[in-house]
């Protein structure tokens, strides 16, 4: 992956014309996970591997793990809670993010 080259806090003179982004696919560098106030936690004992959390996640932040279970990509999960709501066996709980 090409490195993210843009200065995140440019002055108005450093800003590219019209604040255009001269490099493709930069949203990958934009970690939206820090918007989150609640974090989904998967209970692997309860999880039946049905994959509905993966289907419903609006951000593609649910990953399939090698053992066939699911976990959450916390770099991008915004903590909306749809996965916890949709899980048919209530294997996902939303835990409040607390600053340490």
């Amino acid at each position: 992956m090409e490195k993210f080259k843009l200065n995140p806090k440019p002055t108005w003179k450093e800003l590219p014309i019209a604040s255009m982004i001269p490099q493709p696919a930069t949203s990958r560098f934009y970690k939206t996970g820090d918007w989150r106030s609640f974090r989904p936690v998967v209970d692997k004992e309860k999880c039946t591997r049905c994959g509905l959390c993966w289907v419903y996640c609006p951000d593609g932040a649910i990953r399939i793990v090698e053992d066939g279970s699911y976990d959450v990509d916390l770099d991008y999960c915004k903590g909306c809670g749809i996965c916890a709501e949709e899980c048919p066996v209530k294997a996902i709980s939303m835990v409040e993010e607390v600053e340490e």
Binding site: I21, P24, A25
Partner: protein, 393 residues
Amino acid sequence: MAKRIAIECSHAISLAAKLANVDVVAAYPITPQTHIVEKLSEYVADGELDAEYINVESEHSAMSACIGASAVGARVFTATAGQGLALMHEMLFIAAGNRLPIVMAVANRSLSPNLNIWGDQSDMMASKDCGWIQIYAENAQEVFDFTLQAFKIAEDERVMLPVAINFDGFYVTHVIEPIIALDQEEVKKFLPPRKIPSYALHPDHPTTWGPIGLPDVQTELKRQLEEALRNSKTVIKEVWKEFGDMFGRYYDFFEPYRLEDAEIAILMMGGHCGTARIAVDRLREKGEKVGLIKLRLFRPFPDEELIKLTKNLKVLAIVDKAFSPGGLGGPVFTEVKALFYNQKIKPEIVGFIAGLGGRDIRVDEFMVAVERAKKALMGEKIDKGFMFLQVRE
């Protein structure tokens, strides 16, 4: 070779767009702009102009298509008026904010209600903060020349901004006038094909335009736009000078008339300057020291240039063909008042609202305005500094 021809003003602008060899025209017909786009679609249909003519379902779509076309590097033209410009409003800001050179003719028309297809400047003035360069023309020759120059100004790497050429609906658009038309070879020399910027939209080097801008970038983006508008003054001057050197017609931000020893001057934009000149002549015959300043450039506003030009004036009578209800007067009037507030030496500035919805401003009405403005000098001020010149009381 340049040739003297008689042409309808609307067609003069179509001819200029054709000579500029535009790549894309996206427009929706609306009175009093219709003749401009009718002629252009005819040029394309007859094979006289190799351009993509996009029939759109609204002005909002017209400007959207122009934005896309300009972003890939095409030379783009459109035209509208009144309600059409209002419907475009949202996209005007996007064209300027994304720094896309587009040339648009605005056949200035009053905004509804009532349904009024006639000329005043309330359409463009309602969108004056859209970030476009805004030029006002008085006649067919100016419209023709300004359109050719506008492409060169807009596409200059130091500018990269859209330009609106304003001219009065009907009073100018539908009038047949003599102009000196340039031929294709002459225009080619002045206006080569558009240089496509390295960052133009292209599948081989993807770029993103107008993405989400969080609060931490919007201020910098707007500051950059302000700088682009301010700097464009230099380029406008350069392009107008180059045009003058090549074809003998020189333009400036102002066209002063009998201003040398004048104590009072009318200041206004657009086609009624012709009538104002006759009023100036009549008042001069009576021994009054009156002149006229025709303002051509509204954005960027020629601030220091106006201060210099008016330094010997005692009174400025500003005639606006638009106003802001509940505000402090017409747009040119409030602009000029703001400009002079911090100046030590300043003229009395008196505002008049006139010519709304196509009402003609007659010679005697200009003379009444000058007489009324003069009274401000003796302390007889107008409430709030401005008044409706032609309203039935």
